[in-house]
């Protein structure tokens, strides 16, 4: 961290200004927001304090601009915050006109204290804290303004708004914003806001693993706000009112873009590019669009018509979708001949990785790959139930396979995982529901040999494991226990331990770099491969991730392709890496209230049916849950160095 001229971030004052005794910052450096790489800021003001990097910074101007930005987020639903900010703006305005006095400084401090202590939401309680710092530590600048020695200059300021939940969200959705709209019974506007960053709201509102909820400030108070279910409520409300269409592009552009793969990444890129006016064609090898959302997630988690409705809305703004069309060769040259100016590869990761057990390559009947199993099931293939199935793996795919088998009618469904419950990557909610449905879990074991007779699986020889020291994933490494082999008899074995991509053939003259994991290498900011005009993203770049990751990639790739075709440059924002976003200097009294629950399909009714298990919120329930949101908006304003 470069030495700062001054910092009051998180209440720890570091004052290196001329004439002041240099104070060594005690303890570790506290991370504060930093400008994007390559850019420099003279000073920044954020919810936890003031940071000055250059003595030339205009602190009064920065304070005024911060107040203006903060005023935009003041919702007016409590008296003190909005009026308090207005009064502070009026006072500074008075000072600038030469009508201020020293007494105004004391009054500003009193107002700031009042707003911080009495505001209704987390935003009001935290927003004015740094203004107190600027008045306290840069008092002479304000006095100079009052005396007319200094003038208010118009500088170039930038502003970023975030929140703990927003920063955790891969797509950076305006979560307090869409929750606020639900709280005010404005479901349509809430859905519009959601769709700015997430074009599959009904899907994500059902299947997301919600990193936002894990980051929610309320998690430390009572329970996180049910952000995912609120997103679902906005989508469901729209469907109940007939399902509104998406707006199309305002103008048309000449260029056309080819997208390979109609999964979430491809769909999000297609939607955004089309909105910018480009011609878009998606090539999809399967009979349906949707990618993993269509062929990986079972219907009891994501009803088919929800996904189809949202795909349909995207198509209707003028996107050409060619299903059952596999792109065998990835050649931009060929595509250019067909009239395309750029291509986005988003083929996902649809091939199951192997366990490494003896006999897995023999093609035995009754040994299947989990990804293929779910895909066939979702494409309508009938699976005959047998007595027993073991599913190998600990992620959501394994859980999906197991819970699907329960519904197909297998008597005995068992999950085998080589580590313990603690290390299992599957979400807690999935594991709990699976346990309710009678799925058995066996930890710390893995198959070493597939046993078969006459080409049909009869069982698996497994070995027990112990947990040793952590591996690259940070989880404790499973170590086989010598001599602990035992046999499990079974009719079907499903392996669901990982996924990799099947990439189209890449001609030598247009070589793009593939990593050792079989994923496509891209520039982390532009998503472009080694070949100009060829972009890639989603699971085929990152390895298996969640739907919202792919949607965000699609959004970013669209912007990047637009910049590439129009010779523009990508806008970059401030980063909050390492910054404690949850922390605010002073929090009001929060009444503890549990999250609103939803109904679940009775366990007895789940066997034999792929009917949706989790229910959604009614309008009133959604509005009530939305009231629990503390509105933890965090504003950062910085003065750019020229």
């Amino acid at each position: 961290m470069d030495k700062v001229v001054f910092s009051s971030w998180e209440g720890r004052a570091v004052d290196n200004r001329k004439g002041k005794a240099p104070k060594a910052s005690k303890g570790r450096d506290i991370a504060f927001p930093s400008p994007p790489e390559g850019e420099k800021a003279l000073a920044l003001m954020g919810w936890n304090g003031l940071v000055v990097m250059n003595p030339k910074a205009n602190i009064v101007g920065l304070t005024l601009d911060y107040l203006k930005e903060v005023r935009k987020l003041s919702c007016g639903e409590c008296s003190v915050c909005m009026i308090g900010i207005d009064k502070l703006l009026d006072i500074i305005g008075k000072m600038a006109k030469g009508e201020g006095s020293k007494a105004d400084i004391a009054e500003m401090k009193a107002i700031i204290k009042q707003v911080c202590v009495n505001s209704k939401c987390g935003f009001g309680q935290s927003a004015l804290f740094p203004v107190m710092d600027s008045i306290k530590y840069y008092k002479s600048d304000f006095l100079a303004l009052i005396k007319g020695e200094k003038k208010l200059e118009d500088k170039d300021y930038s502003c970023t708004v975030t929140a703990p939940c927003m920063d955790a969200c891969p797509a950076k959705l305006d979560i307090p914003g869409y929750i606020e709209l639900i709280r005010n019974n404005r479901f349509e506007e809430s859905l519009d806001l959601i769709c700015e960053n997430c074009i599959l709201p009904g899907v994500v509102g059902r299947v997301c693993t919600h990193p936002c909820e894990d980051a929610c400030v309320r998690k430390d108070i009572d329970e996180p706000v049910s952000i995912r279910l609120l997103k679902r409520a906005a989508a469901d409300d729209d469907l109940q009112h007939g399902g509104s269409s998406l707006n199309g592009p305002q103008k048309e552009r000449e260029e056309r873009i080819a997208i390979i793969g109609a999964g979430p990444a491809g769909l999000a890129a297609a939607y955004n590019l089309r909105l910018m006016g480009y011609g878009v064609t998606i090539f999809e090898s399967l009979p349906h669009a949707g990618g993993m959302a269509a062929v990986g997630i079972p219907e009891y988690r994501l009803p088919r018509d929800i996904l189809n409705h949202e795909i349909d809305l995207i198509k209707r703004i003028g996107i050409e979708l060619k299903v059952n069309t596999k792109v065998e060769k990835l050649s931009l040259k060929d595509l250019k001949k067909k009239g395309y100016n750029a291509v986005f590869v988003a083929v996902g990761a649809h091939i199951g990785t192997k366990i490494g057990a003896e006999g897995e390559d023999k093609g035995y009947e009754g040994f299947v790959d989990g990804v293929e199993f779910l895909r066939n099931l979702n494409l309508g293939k009938k699976v005959k139930p047998q007595k027993k199935v073991i599913v190998i793996g600990g992620g959501n795919t394994a859980l999906d396979c197991a819970r699907s088998c329960v519904r197909i009618g297998f008597d005995d469904v068992e999950i085998i995982y080589r580590r313990s419950r603690v290390e299992m990557p599957a979400s807690d909610e999935e594991i709990e529901e699976a346990e309710k449905e009678g799925v058995k879990f066996n930890y710390l074991m893995t198959p070493v040999k597939i046993l078969a007779k006459d080409g049909k699986v009869t069982g698996a020889e497994c070995i027990k494991m112990n947990l040793g020291r952590p591996d690259e994933s940070g989880r404790r490494r499973p170590v086989p226990i010598k001599g602990s082999e035992f046999t499990i008899d079974t009719d079907l074995i499903i392996q669901a331990i990982g996924q990799r991509s099947e990439l189209p053939v890449i001609p030598d003259k247009e070589k793009i770099e593939i990593t050792k994991w079989g994923t496509i290498k891209v520039d982390p900011i532009t998503y472009m491969t080694d070949v100009e005009g060829v972009f890639a993203g989603g699971d085929c770049v990152t390895g298996p991730a969640i739907v919202i990751d792919a949607l965000n990639t699609g959004n970013q790739v669209a912007k990047s392709i637009d910049c590439y075709l129009q010779s523009g440059s990508l806008a970059r924002g401030i980063t909050f890496e390492g910054v404690d976003l949850k922390k605010q200097m002073g929090r009001g009294f929060t009444v503890k209230a549990p999250a609103q629950g939803v109904g679940f399909l009775d366990v007895k009714e789940r066997a034999g049916s792929f009917e949706e298990v989790e229910g959604g919120y009614t309008t009133m329930e959604a509005m009530s849950e939305a009231q629990r949101c503390l509105r933890c908006y965090r504003v950062v304003v910085w003065e750019k160095a020229i």
Partner: protein, 235 residues
């Protein structure tokens, strides 16, 4: 029932009741502007502040929407409470100096209110109209207009949806400042700039209710419209 302490006095309180419900029962005077006993609490005006201690720390909290917990201690008249209420009133008065409802609170809490020429009927964003329309009437014709990121609206305000409004006038009744105006004259009623056709009582001929309101009642109760066209006096 739980036991709480209000101003040093041990009191039995119903579980999940609010602090304000209990102080009102004890006739302790706490100022409010956005509170109504028949509506959900909103915590907008910030006047009903009290000090609360549940975990060893005294914190300011709005009494209208803070539920009591067993062992909770409450101070309704400490220096900190009085200072908080006064500063809040000063801010309200700063923004709405000509609105009588605000002036009344200001006078009560010791804020100087010099004589003003004329009177305003500002909307103070208390939300009483919104909550009434949603919770009592049930048509949700009024909502807060959203602010939030990217919305560069100068002033937050209450938004009116003419398609949902039935012209009942409950919002005008509950508005503390007179911002919501209802004009009634002859066979018309005008509220939120929407004109409603009034229905005349089939007995006495007096125009007594908007047609839209009677249609709404008929739809909700399944009572035929024709049976609703008698005014309350003539029933």
């Amino acid at each position: 029932m739980v036991t709480i302490v209000i101003d040093g006095r041990k009191v039995k309180a119903k579980e999940n009741s609010t602090i304000l419900e209990n102080t009102q029962e004890l006739n302790i005077d706490i100022p409010t502007l956005c509170f109504h006993k028949d509506l959900s609490s909103f915590g907008a005006c910030r006047l009903c502040m009290v000090e609360v201690n549940t975990n060893g720390k005294w914190q300011l909290a709005t009494s209208c929407n803070t539920s009591v917990e067993d062992g909770m201690e409450i101070r309704t008249d400490s220096d900190r409470v009085r200072e908080s209420r006064k500063l809040t009133t000063e801010l309200l008065y700063y923004k709405y100096p000509m609105t009588e409802a605000v002036r009344e609170v200001a006078r009560k809490l010791g804020v100087q209110t010099p004589e003003e020429k004329g009177e305003s009927h500002d909307c103070i964003l208390c939300g009483l109209c919104v909550r009434t329309c949603r919770e009592i009437v049930g048509v949700s014709a009024l909502t807060f207009q959203d602010r939030g990121r990217g919305r560069d609206i100068d002033e937050p305000k209450i938004e009116f949806n003419p398609n949902s409004c039935i012209g009942c006038g409950s919002c005008a009744y509950v508005c503390p400042t007179g911002y919501v105006q209802m004009e009634s004259g002859g066979d018309k009623r005008i509220i939120w700039d929407k004109v409603f056709k009034m229905v005349a009582c089939k007995v006495c001929g007096r125009f007594f209710a908007p047609e839209d309101q009677l249609k709404y009642i008929s739809k909700e109760t399944n009572v035929p419209f024709g049976e609703l066209t008698t005014c309350t006096d003539c029933r």
